[in-house]
């Protein structure tokens, strides 16, 4: 199952609005399990969004971001742009989603 839910739509004024939800546990590394043992950190470290292969957003994340995080932003673009979002986490897992702006 895809772990990313990506949406993008063209706004007035030459902008594209991107919205994304990502399925991820975002373990801080500070939480203890029922046996009192620390649960190892497991969180997204980097999200990159490209439009027509050109980077429009890059963000570095850490353990303070919530589980199943939500990201929304605008960039200068237009209908027809190919938008792609990719995340990477601290265990070197990665996933991505892409779409064409309508």
């Amino acid at each position: 199952m895809a772990s990313v839910k990506l949406k993008a739509k063209a706004l007035e004024g030459g902008l594209v609005e991107v919205k994304a939800l990502m399925t991820h546990p975002m373990e801080t590394g500070l939480r203890k399990d029922s046996a009192g043992e620390l649960v190892p950190a497991h969180y997204i470290t980097e999200v990159v969004v490209t439009a027509n292969d050109k980077e429009v957003l890059k963000t570095n994340w850490g353990g303070s971001v919530s589980k199943n995080p939500y990201l929304a932003f605008n960039y200068k673009g237009a209908v027809g742009d190919k938008v792609k979002l990719t995340w990477k986490d601290n265990k070197d897992a990665t996933d991505s989603a892409e779409l064409t702006v309508e």
């Binding site: 199952m1 895809a2 772990s3 839910k5 949406k7 919205k19 939800l21 399925t23 546990p25 373990e27 939480r31 399990d33 029922s34 649960v39 919530s66 589980k67 199943n68 939500y70 929304a72």
Partner: protein, 272 residues
């Protein structure tokens, strides 16, 4: 002079009341800021997972849940939640969404009931992901987004269970002497800063609560269904764990849904 003063005094006391009302402690503004954007609801991820689980051929009989009748005919998902709980002839009882799911998953897909009920809810204290039951429930419920809350009441068993639910709503027991009505029986009450709906009367409060459930509870980082809501409330009343989908919880859900009739479903919901 006195006559002139009086209206002035009245005016200022009215103004004071207005200011006081505006400053009643609540977290509404914060919540609007956090949950105002429906695309920001992580429940949407769980809805997608629920849809896959719903359509997948599963269980010992390798059948999809599309073979199930949720009240509007076999395979119909759209709008079924808006007309639940309802009486089902095959089980000869009134069922809510989740008790109906158990019926389908045991009879049509061949799952073992005890096995299914072993793990009904994700434990937020262990940062667990939603269970399959929660995911399937929120998928089905979301297919009634934007519809009117319209539980049927024509069948005698539907009328009966609503009455039983109402009596249960006022049933006081346990070490704190609570019933549902202890917290949800009057207008504009709060536990600490948490607003409490008045569900003893039909209309706004019940419509807002029922209409937004199942909901993504941000404090749990998980989707929560009505069965979970009842289980959680009963636990706060310091009563034993409720049995998933048993007539007790279905009766309470039927009563609350009847109180919410004609409200609108905005699903999936998002809340504290």
């Amino acid at each position: 002079m006195k006559k002139l003063l009086l209206p002035g005094l009245l005016m200022s006391s009215l103004a004071l009341t207005a200011v006081y009302a505006a400053e009643e402690p609540n977290a509404d503004a914060y919540r609007e800021m956090t949950y105002g954007d429906r695309d920001a609801n992580p429940a949407l991820l769980v809805v997608d997972r629920g849809e896959e689980l719903f359509k997948e051929k599963r269980g010992p009989k390798n059948v999809s849940m599309e073979e199930c009748d949720f009240g509007l005919g076999k395979g119909v998902v759209k709008g079924v939640y808006a007309e639940l709980p309802r009486y089902f002839q095959d089980t000869d009882r009134v069922q809510d969404l989740e008790s109906r799911m158990i019926t389908c998953m045991t009879t049509i897909q061949g799952f073992d009931e005890a096995e299914l009920k072993k793990k009904t809810y994700a434990n937020e204290k262990s940062n667990e992901d939603n269970t399959d039951l929660e995911a399937i429930a929120v998928y089905i419920a979301s297919q009634s987004d934007g519809m009117k809350i319209n539980p049927p009441t024509a069948h005698p068993k539907e009328q009966e269970i609503i009455k039983v639910g109402e009596a249960l709503f006022y049933h006081r027991t346990g070490p704190l002497d609570f019933s549902c009505a202890s917290c949800h029986g009057a207008d504009k009450k709060r536990i600490r800063l948490q607003n409490l709906g008045n569900f003893s009367k039909a209309g706004h409060d019940a419509q807002k609560a029922i209409g937004g459930w199942p909901t993504y509870r941000v404090s749990h980082a998980a989707v929560r269904t009505m069965q979970h809501r009842i289980w959680d409330c009963e636990g706060q009343m310091r009563l034993p764990d409720t049995e998933y989908g048993a007539p007790l919880s279905v009766a309470l859900i039927a009563y609350l849904t009847a109180q919410a009739k004609d409200g609108a479903y905005v699903l999936p919901g998002m809340s504290r």
